[in-house]
């Protein structure tokens, strides 16, 4: 079914009522062509987002299939396309308007660099940090074209590029920063590759600052607003009765030998229930799961984190109509917002250090926790 522009405009005017379709929808918005497929999202079950319900303490976990299409670490997994790239593209102006506070630790790092330094910001978002040190020259990149457009409007030197595969010559920069980026990468090998690239693109003696969201959030109540994801790697999934479950974080695996079997049963039960439910799943009323969720949440690192895009912003964007039709976003009339989910792999204490331990041409200059973020500063040797 093809929805033409006139119909899109009229249904946007009717407060985002949307028509579901069982086939692909092609939406044209001005010069941009957003192609949305229903089939992709139905196959992996990610479209069955549970309705938001503030009464429940814990979000019902979602099973997300991680079928790997390409063996290349640089190939973008579907979960990132749907729950990182498309989301940021849709929310870019609104997101940018909320991103103005310069985080002191990042500012300190940038201001500590020698005047005349060339600083590379990989995953620069709306360009918040570009130009922060007026004596330095910044080059930013982000995978989101809408966000880069916002940077360019502010006269920054930017490009659209992938932080997992920086198109830069080796050793050109004096410093590189990766602020709240790596937690959007869904596999450990992609996270390691992104870090390796940050190190590669700076000169010998160059500095790298990385910050990521921490599991150990200062505001613990935040986690109740997030949806934990149970992972299912089709190649790595080991069936019931097996004592070991491979997850993306080997730290999780080693730390809970006793409860692993319980985790496997929970995940199986959850994924089975999810596949039986239709689009709007029933709220979890299995009391034996909820308390265990609470225990598992200590080791839980994969989440969907909601972004509320106010209706008036969503209509401006246009991409929300597609997202709603695809089930990748939901309406929350109470809040008057389209709710998107962003994929996060939040980092546990020591994880950044572990990830860089394999890189032999760096030293760790500093590592710290600040305002719910884990941070590390490296120097290339």
């Amino acid at each position: 079914m093809i929805i033409n522009v006139a119909r899109v405009e009229s249904f946007l005017n009717r407060s985002l009522e949307f028509i579901t379709s069982s086939t692909g929808i092609v939406c044209r918005f001005g010069n941009q062509r957003a192609f949305c497929t229903m089939t992709d999202s139905q196959v992996d079950g990610a479209s069955s987002l549970p309705p938001l319900n503030e009464e429940f303490r814990f979000k019902k976990p979602i099973t997300v299939s991680r079928e790997k299409k390409s063996s290349s670490v640089q190939s973008t997994p579907d979960i990132e396309k749907k729950y990182v790239h498309h989301v940021y593209d849709a929310i870019a102006p609104h997101f940018s308007s909320t991103r103005f506070a310069k985080w002191p630790k990042v500012a300190t790092f940038l201001n500590s660099l020698p005047p005349g330094s060339l600083i590379l910001d990989a995953g620069c978002g709306n360009g918040k940090y570009l130009g922060l040190n007026p004596d330095c020259f910044f080059i930013g990149c982000d995978i989101s074209a809408p966000l880069i457009n916002i940077c360019a409007e502010r006269e920054h030197e930017v490009m659209v590029a992938d932080a997992v595969n920086l198109p830069y010559r080796t050793g050109f920069g004096d410093a590189a920063i990766s602020i709240a980026v790596l937690h959007h990468l869904s596999t450990e090998s992609r996270r390691k590759k992104a870090i390796a690239d940050l190190v590669r693109v700076v000169r010998k003696g160059g500095m790298v600052l990385i910050t990521v969201w921490a599991v150990e959030q200062e505001d613990r109540s935040l986690l109740t607003k997030w949806t934990p994801l149970t992972q299912k790697y089709t190649e790595e999934w080991i069936g019931p009765g097996s004592p070991r479950v491979r997850s993306s974080s080997t730290l999780t695996l080693e730390s809970i030998p006793e409860t692993e079997e319980n985790s496997v049963r929970d995940q199986l039960r959850n994924s089975k229930r999810l596949s039986e439910d239709t689009m709007r799943g029933t709220i979890n009323d299995d009391s034996s799961v909820a308390p265990r969720n609470g225990k598992n949440l200590e080791n839980q690192q994969e989440y969907f984190v909601p972004w509320h895009l106010p209706y008036h912003r969503a209509e401006v964007s246009g991409a929300s109509a597609c997202a709603l039709a695809n089930g990748l976003a939901e309406k929350d009339d109470k809040k008057g917002a389209v709710v998107y989910n962003r994929y996060y792999h939040v980092f546990i204490e020591g994880e950044l250090e572990r990830l860089v331990s394999g890189i032999d041409n760096i030293v760790i200059v500093d590592q710290f926790y600040d305002k719910s973020n884990w941070c590390i500063i490296l120097k290339k040797t």
Binding site: F137, E157, M159, P167, R169
Partner: protein
């Protein structure tokens, strides 16, 4: 896109041995004044692949740079630094493309923004 950025960019398509420098396809270029900072220029100079800068500047219509990579003593010459400054920071490619030297693949540049994203089959 400034030529400073261009001097850093390299095609990272799978299988490409040396993706630098990208050839410029210029549809629209502009010059935007930038504050002169000789310290910055002296810091940048060792990073620059000189021939790539000269060729890129020429494709943008600026042929004032010396062909030969200058000796570092040239960095004391204000006249040289001003030309270096102009080529490196003031020339902008607004519309056009960057071409991979090995595959010929075009990376489009629109409104001064290069799009360096690879397709699925290029990673």
């Amino acid at each position: 896109m400034r030529l400073l950025t261009h001097n850093m960019l390299s095609s990272n398509i799978k299988g490409v041995m040396n993706g630098f420098p990208l050839r410029l396809e210029v549809e629209k270029s502009v010059s935007k004044e930038v504050e002169f900072n000789s310290d910055f220029l002296r810091n940048m100079f060792p990073k620059i692949e000189w021939k790539a800068l000269v060729d890129a500047a020429r494709s943008m219509g600026y042929a004032e740079l010396p062909e030969e990579a200058p000796e570092s003593s040239m960095l004391e010459s204000e006249e040289f630094l001003m030309k270096f400054h102009h080529a490196l920071l003031e020339l902008h490619l607004e519309e056009g493309a960057l071409i991979c030297p090995e595959t010929g693949r075009r990376f489009p540049v629109n409104k001064g923004i290069p799009n360096m994203l690879l397709h699925e089959d290029e990673v």
